[in-house]
């Protein structure tokens, strides 16, 4: 075994440990670096800002345990943003887990509300809870909310919710915010709500899904997108409320660099060790 082969045969667990350190170190010793705001995040923010005061909007909360740390801070800030403009929010979720996490987002956002801004359940916002059935469920919900939901997430019958009195269809909303996390569900919104009902939409997804949705953005079917923790951090920044997301976005620095270095190193060793021979 040559030296190169030995270097390539490094125990996996050493690489794992290195990565753990690279990810944990910046969390324990945060350093904030300047960063540019991506155009997609800016577009999404300006879209939310342009929704007329006092209108009603629909929000899909699709964040789960794994994706809440990335999208949650952004969603919380967006709820504050919209409530400050006296916009009424109707939430729903297409997953059981995400339905519970949407409540977390609402609770955290209400705790951040500046004084004088109303955030009353049933009046300023309502969480319609879990809608099963994936894309079919979204279509059912968009066409007739009462046909799929008889009560909200907390068990209040829909007839007793003042905010819902005039609302039963996707066309009753001024805008759609799709916080899809890693569900891959953003096309459901485009297909089942934007196309048939003409409701304008923006959304959030995890970093890995952003490239899949760029065609919908450049076609105008969707306005901007919040991508992962960096998108959330940018929304926080644009709102002037820096918080949890910014620190996490900075924590990707060392991990990303380590990964890049390992790829380059691995390839260099591979080519030195002789193509085709080496590790395989």
């Amino acid at each position: 075994m040559s030296l190169m082969d030995k270097m390539l045969a490094l125990d996996q667990r050493i690489i794992f440990a290195l990565m753990f350190l690279a990810l944990a170190f910046p969390i324990l010793n945060p350093v904030i670096l300047p960063m540019d705001i991506q155009q997609y995040s800016r577009d999404s923010f300006e879209f939310a800002d342009a929704v007329p005061n006092g209108s009603v909007v629909l929000i899909e909360g699709g964040l789960t345990a794994a994706t809440y740390p990335q999208g949650g801070p952004g969603l919380e800030v967006q709820i504050v943003h919209l409530l400050r403009k006296d916009i009424k929010l109707v939430f729903f979720s297409i997953g059981t887990e995400s339905s519970a996490w949407t409540v977390t987002a609402i609770d955290n956002a209400l705790a951040k509300l500046p004084s004088g801004v109303a955030g009353e359940n049933g009046v300023n916002w309502v969480h319609m809870g879990y809608v099963p059935g994936g894309e079919s469920g979204v279509a059912a919900f968009a066409n007739d909310i009462r046909s799929v939901k008889t009560e909200d997430h907390f068990g209040t019958p829909i007839g007793q919710i003042p905010l819902m009195s005039d609302i039963n269809k996707a066309s009753d909303f001024a805008a759609l915010f799709w916080w899809g996390g890693s569900e891959g569900s953003i096309p459901y919104g485009v297909r089942q709500i934007v196309t048939p009902f003409g409701v304008p939409m923006t959304g959030m997804c995890t970093t890995n899904e952003v490239p899949n949705y760029t065609p919908y953005i450049s076609s105008g079917q969707m306005v901007g997108i919040i991508g992962g923790v960096r998108g959330s951090a940018e929304y926080e920044y644009l709102m002037g409320m820096p918080g949890l997301a910014l620190g996490q976005a900075m924590a990707t620095n060392f991990g990303g660099l380590l990964w890049a270095i390992l790829v380059v190193l691995g390839n260099v060793l591979y080519f030195i060790a002789g193509r085709g021979g080496g590790s395989k």
Binding site: Q12, G134, N208, E209, N212, K280
Partner: protein
């Protein structure tokens, strides 16, 4: 009352043309004229991988990840994975390669067992098959570490990652690569294509999966459906190219398309 909902006329016409051409090709296929699909390099690679396994006397793994067929988006890749499984199992039987197929869902497990059973029967190697060791039901949560541990203890020499792949793609391929297996990867879930392409020796991407399935099974249904869909692609290409040229010259057909 209008005959057609406003703004949806062109959509309806497009849908009619595309489904019409699919049905047309299907009728033709059932009267014996199966559309000729392009032969993908992967067809030979399947045999190459199995041949290597036989040479080294080690098993090949056939992994499909998500196989819940009542979800429409998973149905097509799973059907393709079954078709390719039928071909691979037959080659394995013919060449005498050891074969292992873990499946995470009950219904898919039943179908996979049938497929492998039939393949070995068709090659008259049925006495060499231990079906319950070859096809195994491993529900989600019990599968990941079991498969990885066995990859190492079996020192498997070949692996197929075919079907609707999610985050397990990286975990399995990374281990398989280091065990030293020769791999063919193919999925239509876009997030995991890059890893299959980068890690596997051979890869098929996106819809190539369906085409490979149709090609190896000589299935008239899927191949004629693909031929019909190709008509749709031609329509798209022509509209884009002509539309763009006209627009450059100052004429727009965009209004026409959103009628």
């Amino acid at each position: 009352m209008a005959l057609i909902v406003a703004g949806r006329l062109i959509g309806l016409i497009t849908l009619a043309i595309i489904t019409g051409s699919i049905v047309y090709y299907m009728q033709r296929a059932y009267s014996g004229k199966i559309p000729k699909l392009r032969r993908l390099a992967a067809v030979n690679q399947i045999d190459e991988i199995l041949g290597r396994c036989v040479e080294m006397g080690r098993p090949a793994y056939y992994l499909m990840d998500t196989v819940t067929m009542d979800t429409p988006s998973v149905l097509a890749p799973t059907v393709a994975a079954f078709q390719i499984l039928a071909y691979t199992a037959r080659s394995a039987a013919r060449l005498g390669a050891k074969f292992f197929v873990p499946v995470t869902q009950g219904l898919a497990y039943t179908i996979s067992s049938e497929i492998v059973d039939e393949a070995y029967k068709a090659e008259n190697k049925h006495d060499e098959l231990k079906l319950d060791e070859t096809v195994m039901y491993l529900p989600d949560g019990a599968d990941r570490m079991y498969i990885i541990n066995h990859m190492w203890s079996d020192e498997m020499a070949g692996a197929f990652f075919i079907g609707s792949w999610y985050h397990k793609a990286v975990i399995f391929t990374e281990n398989a690569a280091r065990v030293g297996a020769m791999m063919l990867g193919g999925t239509d879930t876009t997030h995991n294509i890059p890893f299959l392409v980068a890690i596997c020796d051979y890869s098929i991407i996106g819809e190539e999966l369906y085409a490979l399935g149709a090609y190896v099974s000589e299935d008239p249904t899927v191949s004629s459906s693909l031929a019909g869909q190709d008509i749709g692609k031609f329509i798209a290409l022509i509209l884009i190219v002509i539309g763009s040229v006209l627009l450059t010259l100052g004429m727009s057909i965009k209004g026409l398309l959103s009628m």
